[in-house]
Each structure stands twice: as structure tokens, then as C-alpha cells.
């Protein structure tokens, strides 16, 4: 068996094993479905409630995607401002940290009150959760320039812009993608948490709201189905970001080189 096949088959086998024993145990011990639904029931619910769940998924996806986009745009912009001067970075970095360490659950109600449009409020919350890794990693990357190459650019009289475009930004790419990988997951977490907070107020209809409702109604199979969709979304975001990183870095960066056979 090749290494490549093992890489896919091994985790797939573990997954299948877990699902089969889950199904077997639930059936054998006759566990009521409102406590632990069998995987088959979860699948059936997913199909049955598809219209409801997938329109909810779309809402959550929208919030996540917008939050990730804003995180990238503003995160990179902030990083570019930070590297212009140490004074700017020293003055503003503590506030970026402040944003990072404040639990979103604590400030979400405030944001939901302040921002009229419910969707926009959720996007703001998710962005606050997701933006920090982009800021800190991109700043680190923009600073992590090979000193030899920096000398070379200086020697040839390269200006600020040229150095930024030809040297700093390419040097920062691996760091940026490492940040993006974390931020992708955080954007989803931020969206879900914000929906929970907003959901208790009765607005919005994303996946987290469905989980909340299903929990209140003891509709555990639907809760599981919604949970499954959120998990799959997280995996999909991670995979997309990884593919993007691979496409950009594969020819030159160590992190994307094929392992030696």
C-alpha cells in the first residue's frame, strides 16, 4: 500500500469504526434517541430537515465568509501599518491584544445592540474573533525578511514600495497563510458564538440558532445534524485555506514541499 493511500484510508477506517460501534452500541443498549441518536437517524434527519438546515447553513456560511474576508482585509492593512514604524506598532499592538483577549460572548450583546443590521452585527463579532492571528502573523512575516536580501535591496537603491512589494510581502506569505488557517476556524467559531448570543434575543436563523432551538425542543437528532454541518464547514474552510497555501507556496517554501519518499 502506498503512503498516499494510507494517508486517506487510515483515518477513514477509524471514522468508519467509530460510526459502526456507535450504531451498534446505541442499538444494543436501546439508548433513547432523545439522548444519543444513532448515526443512521442523524443522517435521516439531515435529509428530512434539509431545507431548514441548509438555509441555516447558508446564513452561517455567509457570516463566516464575510468575517474572514474582513479579517484578511483589515488584518493585512493593520499589519502593513504596524511595520511602517515601531512606534506605531508599540502604540497600537496592546489594543489588538485587548481585542483578542476579550471574550466575544461578553461583548457580543453590546455589538448586537449597537449594530442595527443583525447580519452585520454577527459579522462584526466573528471578525473580532478571527482577525488577531492575521494581524500578528502578517506583522511577524513582514518583519521576517532575510537580512542579506534587505542589504541587497538597499544596495540597489530600492525604495519603500519596491522593498514592500518585492521583498516584504513575498517573505510574509508563509506566515500569512499560517495565520489564515487559524483565522478560518476562528471565523466560524465567532459566527456560531455570535449567533448563540443573538439567538437568545430571538434574531437570526443560522446553524447555531437551529442548535439552540433543537436543544430547547429536545430534538437531539436535528441538533446532531446541525452540529455535523458546522463541523464539516470547519473542515472545508481548513481544506480550502490549505489548498490556497499549497498553490501559492508549493514551488519554494519548505512547508509545502513533498516529503522525501
Amino acid at each position: 500500500m502506498t503512503r498516499r493511500a494510507t494517508r486517506w484510508l487510515a483515518p477513514a477506517a477509524v471514522g468508519a469504526g467509530v460510526l459502526l460501534s456507535w450504531q451498534g452500541l446505541v442499538t444494543a443498549f436501546d439508548v433513547p434517541f432523545y439522548l444519543v441518536p444513532a448515526p443512521s437517524l442523524v443522517a435521516k434527519t439531515l435529509v428530512q430537515d434539509a431545507p431548514l438546515l441548509f438555509s441555516a447553513l447558508l446564513v452561517t456560511l455567509q457570516i463566516t465568509a464575510l468575517a474572514l474576508l474582513l479579517s484578511v482585509v483589515f488584518g493585512v492593512a493593520v499589519a502593513l501599518v504596524f511595520v511602517q514604524s515601531r512606534v506605531i506598532e508599540m502604540s497600537l499592538f496592546p489594543y489588538a491584544v485587548l481585542l483578542q483577549v476579550t471574550p466575544i460572548v461578553a461583548i457580543a450583546p453590546l455589538i448586537i445592540i449597537w449594530v442595527k443590521n443583525p447580519l452585520a452585527a454577527l459579522v462584526v463579532c466573528a471578525t473580532i474573533v478571527a482577525i488577531f492571528p492575521i494581524i500578528s502573523n502578517t506583522t511577524l512575516g513582514l518583519r521576517s525578511v532575510d537580512p542579506g536580501l534587505a542589504d541587497l535591496f538597499r544596495l540597489y537603491g530600492a525604495g519603500r514600495w519596491q522593498t514592500l512589494l518585492r521583498l516584504r510581502i513575498p517573505s510574509a506569505l508563509p506566515y500569512f497563510f499560517a495565520g489564515l488557517r487559524v483565522s478560518g476556524g476562528l471565523a466560524l467559531i465567532g459566527a456560531v458564538v455570535a449567533e448563540f448570543v443573538a439567538g437568545t434575543g430571538g434574531t437570526s436563523s443560522g446553524l447555531a440558532y437551529q442548535i439552540l432551538q433543537a436543544g430547547l425542543q429536545l430534538n437531539i437528532p436535528r441538533l446532531f445534524a446541525a452540529l455535523l454541518l458546522i463541523t464539516l464547514t470547519g473542515v472545508a474552510i481548513f481544506a480550502l485555506v490549505s489548498i490556497a497555501a499549497h498553490l501559492v507556496l508549493r514551488r519554494w517554501h519548505e512547508s509545502e514541499l513533498a516529503p522525501e519518499p
Partner: protein
């Protein structure tokens, strides 16, 4: 101990580099270089030879404008360029702004220092791209790649090349602007001896063919003898030029020269000068060899 030595051996060509009492003291108080006065003339292959930490790299970086002298002055082409007066060149703020840039100058570093995200071709043409000089880029690029026999590797990425080939790319990048002064900081120090000898031979040929002026840093006596027209022997802590040896052997030099008796004699003389220089210096640890 401040001693100033002045060297004017090859009086023939125009002056390319002129240092007058240039010294370097780091902010932490470490004295890297005692005041140094020297001239490098057009067509010189001047090698700075000395033990690690003797400040030879610092001296070269000062010449290239990558670091500024604490006192004294460094000037390139002092006779032809009135605007580059010594006093201005040593101005600390100018150097800090990175304005030390001089068009006829190229630098080859200790490591290949290539952009890993760019192909060989894009690495080599970087100096042209940065200067915005679009005139005849393709021809210059071709010429530079041909000089180092890398034409077939134009689209390859640096990590796909061996250390010796990466160094060749670095040399092509230095030559692409057709510089008049080439500064090389132990360029082949990290390579195996066979590759190093071959690249030394190639550099020697290039120097003869292109009428270059070269300042070369090394700690290898053999390399110094093989390449140079003049060897400046340095001693350590603080760095200073202790002696000078002229190598009046014909160019281009071949592997036959490397095995000749004259070569061995020159190496012995240089070795003795190095030992004497370090015995002379405050730090005499080299003597225990």
C-alpha cells in the same frame, strides 16, 4: 593603539575606493576596526585576508555603503564624482537611509541570498527591475546567465539548485548591471573545495575578461594567492591592515598555477605574514596553531 597604514601599490589605474582613517566602533563599545586608510585602484583584485572576527567583512560592508564608518571617510571613485565627497559618504544619516547606493557597484554575499519565491531568471534580473532600467533587460540577462553557464536553469527555483549553482546565480545577479567594482564577502566559504576551486577559476577569468575591480574577503590563504593582485593581511581585535603582499603572477590563472612551486612559496610567505600580524596584535591566540 591606533596605527594608520596607507597602501598605494598599483598606481596605474584610477582610484576606485579610497578610505581615509575609516574606523568602526559598534554601539556596544566593541571596536571592530582601527582607523584604516587604503586605496583600491582600477583593475585591482584586492583581497582582505585575516582570521574570523578581524573586521574584514565590516570593512567590505563599509565600502559598499551597507554600514557607515564611525570616524573617517570612505569614497568610491573620489576623483570622478564631486558629489560623493568623503565627508558626505560617511554621513551616518545618509547610510541609515540606505542612500549609500552607487550604480557601478555590486556585492556578492557570504550566502547566495536569493529570493526563494523567484526563479533564477527573476533573481538575476532583480537589480535591473529595482532600478527601473528597462533598456535591454533581455540581452543583459542572457549575458549574465551565460557568463556563469546557467542559461538552461533560468526557470528553475533556487532550492532546486546545488550550493555551488546558487552561488553562481548570486554572481550572475551581481554582474547583470555590468558593475565596475565587485565586492565579494567570502562568497565560496560554505562550498566544498572542488566547487570552490572551480568558482575561483571562473571569477579569475571574469575579472580578466571584464576589466573588473574586485575587493574580495576570505580567510583562505590559497584562495587569496590564487585570485589576487594584492593581498591585504588583517589582524584581529581591533581589526587593522597589518601587511600587504603583491601577487605579480600572470592572469588568467589556471590549475597549473595552483600546483606550482611559486604558488606554494607565496602561500608560505602569506602564512608567515598572517602569523606575524596576529603575534603583533593584542589578541595572540592564533599563535598557538
Amino acid at each position: 593603539m591606533t596605527r594608520e597604514l596607507s597602501y598605494r601599490l598599483s598606481q596605474s589605474g584610477r582610484c576606485v575606493v579610497e578610505m581615509r582613517g575609516a574606523s568602526k566602533t559598534y554601539p556596544n563599545g566593541v571596536r571592530a576596526l582601527d582607523p584604516i586608510s587604503l586605496q583600491v585602484r582600477e583593475g585591482d583584485f584586492a583581497t582582505l585576508l585575516g582570521p574570523s572576527g578581524c573586521g574584514k567583512s565590516t570593512l567590505l560592508r563599509m565600502t559598499g555603503g551597507l554600514t557607515s564608518p564611525t570616524a573617517g571617510s570612505v569614497a568610491l571613485w573620489p576623483e570622478s564624482n564631486a558629489s560623493e565627497q568623503p565627508a558626505q559618504r560617511s554621513d551616518v544619516t545618509r547610510a541609515a537611509r540606505g542612500d549609500g547606493h552607487s550604480p557601478g557597484l555590486a556585492f556578492v554575499f557570504q550566502h547566495p541570498t536569493l529570493m526563494p519565491w523567484a526563479s533564477v531568471e527573476r533573481n538575476v534580473r532583480l537589480p535591473l527591475d529595482v532600478s527601473g532600467d528597462e533598456h535591454g533587460v533581455a540581452a543583459k540577462l542572457d549575458a549574465a546567465l551565460n557568463l556563469v553557464a546557467l542559461h538552461d536553469f533560468a526557470r528553475v527555483y533556487p532550492r532546486e539548485l546545488s550550493g555551488g549553482m546558487q552561488m553562481r546565480v548570486s554572481i550572475a545577479r551581481a554582474l547583470v548591471t555590468e558593475p565596475r567594482l565587485l565586492l565579494m564577502d567570502e562568497p565560496f566559504g560554505a562550498l566544498d573545495e572542488i566547487t570552490r576551486n572551480r568558482l575561483d577559476r571562473e571569477i579569475s577569468e571574469l575579472w580578466a575578461k571584464r576589466a573588473l575591480t574586485v575587493m574580495f574577503v576570505t580567510h583562505s590563504i590559497y584562495e587569496a594567492v590564487f585570485l589576487s593582485t594584492r593581498v591585504l593581511v588583517m589582524s584581529a581585535r581591533p581589526g587593522r591592515i597589518a601587511a600587504e603582499l603583491e601577487i605579480a603572477e600572470p592572469h588568467p590563472r589556471t590549475d597549473a598555477f595552483r600546483t606550482s612551486e611559486r604558488f606554494a612559496r607565496l602561500c608560505q610567505r602569506l602564512s608567515a605574514m598572517l602569523v606575524e600580524a596576529s603575534e603583533d596584535s593584542v589578541d595572540a591566540r592564533v599563535r598557538s596553531r
